[in-house]
Symmetry: C2
């Protein structure tokens, strides 16, 4: 790997760490952060690691008004041998640059960002928790900083990476979640920003989430924006169904996020010779399979929860209880393999792990 | 009006004002800003006017990641008699609260916000420019401040109002603009956030704007997200067509913004007994009318440009030149009346003006 000039300024005021056996999601942050700036004409410059500190911006900064921003989410794990492992971080950097292209944000050097991330983690390595089920959540993000109220792409940006030691994303852990099929609100549509990881997709999803939550469902399952018929994805997960021995996941159609966990699950299933297809799948087809007794499993995939079995789907007044509301065999097998590879307790036949020195 | 307790801290360091005859859009800001905070359990609190200054936020603040934010845009005008007039500001506060509801942001007291706005303008009254075509652009906005990486509505928010003396929005002024019909990208779809004024709608629109700009068009005309067939709106304007003596504008369908200029134009046309209808209108219908020679005028309506005649529409390789690329009679009449009411040179039969004391 190239040698990058990343300046480091260490904190003089280390924070107290939270108890690693009582971690929540995304509320504690480590001592340092990675920062890099973009200026038109100059490109990305001044990559550096500095103490975790507030961001100061002009009130007219474009991010506050027109949401020109993208982000990523990945994790680092501490192994039994005190190694620190990243899971396919190159994929996140690639996706961040794809999101940049959709949002008219200048692309960055992925190798440099990865080098910055590794350096940051090595500095804050004591923050990578060692308790089962915990990890260090990594949030790279980029936002427009130019103070300008015209609707236009910014001439200046900031790239940050912040780190947060986390426990389980769902309070249920690997236990099955209940999910409501969303009938009113729409997350994304072809031609929109659905396949980019950008703020607006999440802002628009909050309302449906609040409604589902009040009804006792932990997430919503989005249908397509055109016909409200085809399955897209769940809040922050892609989704898989096992019907009659075959695993099916919605094909990448431009309006769903290309999940890295999704991709890894498909590769694992192929590796095991378990039939898996990517195709359009309608909610009616799911319901028919349920009625015929061949809807065998359903699960979500995403960095935060890794694998989240779906125990119940709520759709048009019907409660579809899947696999008796229990974790299915495939969900379990995929979960065990993925978390095993991620945390270093299993072989890594695909070369997905990246060690932080 | 109620008496609100709005604290004022005046700047000790007044800025130099830009030349009012050379103003651009949205790059200069006045000496003060209005601020108010929201804390769960406590509600909106501490409305105050303070020197214009940077915003300081935790890097994990929800606005940077999930774009939970809404905004408004309105203007103040200086009359020949040195009065300062606002145009229907109550409508903007109402719409801001409607946007809040879609984005799960707690609603605020519209009267209080309006009182804060008036007080702010009266403090910065010397910034309201007096040159023809200029005005003071007003940007109220609200954003989520809680440092939390879970996808959820924030428990804390900040409400700001900033002010910017502006010249014409389009460099063309009241001269006709060229607009490209967008075929690939989509701004919004029913069930999404299209009828809220929230950051993500604008972030998603940048790409199409960049493409159109490179081809020599100043804005794009959006089609609906489902069939890419029905006309929605332009970048930051609603749109009107005059076909065969009748004025037509797309009906409010949940995916376009309910423009206040749009509403005012409809009320004016009704007042003048000029036929105007709100209905679905397809791009094919526009093209047919063009071919038959009955597409008489087209214009956009919005706070920034007020009325913007459309001189050319580009669609599927065809250039539809409207009214010989010149400003039409209705566009001109509406423009003159609206700007006359706004700037105090004409009667205000509808009571749209609000004086800043
Ligand atoms: C909308 C959305 N879909 C799917 C995913 C899953 O992607 P990944 O497996 O890369 O984490 C995420 C989250 O990360 C997401 O935000
Ligand atoms: C998307 C969009 N449509 C239409 C408008 C016009 O609305 P108004 O007339 O209230 O300014 C605006 C801007 O303000 C806008 O941002």
């Amino acid at each position: 790997m190239k040698d990058f000039d990343i300046k480091v300024e260490l904190t003089k005021d280390k924070k107290e760490k939270p108890a690693f056996d009582q971690l929540s999601f995304g509320t504690n942050f480590t001592d340092h952060m990675f920062v890099m700036d973009y200026t038109k004409g100059q490109g990305w410059h001044d990559p550096r690691i500095i103490p975790y500190q507030p961001i100061t911006l002009d009130p007219a900064a474009i991010v506050f008004h027109y949401g020109q921003t993208v982000f990523e989410g990945l994790k680092a794990y501490r192994t039994k041998d005190e190694e620190i492992l990243l899971f396919r971080p190159d994929q996140n950097m690639k996706r961040l640059n794809r999101s940049n292209e959709r949002l008219c944000i200048p692309v960055f050097d992925e190798e440099l960002a990865l080098a910055g991330l590794k350096k940051l983690i090595s500095i804050d390595k004591d923050w990578v928790p060692n308790v089962e089920g915990t990890s260090l959540y990594i949030r790279p993000f980029i936002f427009a900083t130019e103070p300008y109220l015209g609707v236009a792409a910014s001439d200046t940006y900031r790239f940050l990476i912040i780190l947060s030691p986390v426990g389980a994303y769902y309070k249920e852990g690997i236990n099955p979640v209940k999910i409501a099929v969303e009938q009113e609100y729409v997350r994304a549509v072809t031609g929109g920003t659905g396949n980019a990881k950008t703020a607006g997709n999440y802002a628009g999803s909050l309302k449906a989430q609040v409604v589902a939550d009040a009804a006792g469902y932990s997430q919503v399952l989005w249908l397509d924006g055109k016909e409200k018929k085809y399955i897209e994805e769940v809040g922050s997960m892609n989704v898989f169904f096992k019907i009659n021995g075959e695993v099916i996941t919605p094909v990448l159609n431009g309006s769903i996020l290309e999940g890295i966990t999704r991709k890894s699950v498909i590769e694992l299933l192929n590796h095991w010779d378990i039939p898996v297809v990517e195709r359009k799948i309608s909610i009616d087809e799911i319901f028919r399979a349920y009625q015929e007794g061949v809807l065998e499993e359903a699960f979500g995939t995403g960095t935060a929860a890794v694998i989240s079995p779906i125990g119940e789907l709520f759709w048009q007044g019907e409660k579809l209880v899947i696999n008796n509301g229990e974790t299915g065999a495939i969900s379990k097998k995929v979960y065990d393999s993925l978390t095993g590879i991620q945390t270093g307790t299993k072989e890594d036949p695909f070369g997905w792990r990246v060690k932080v020195e």
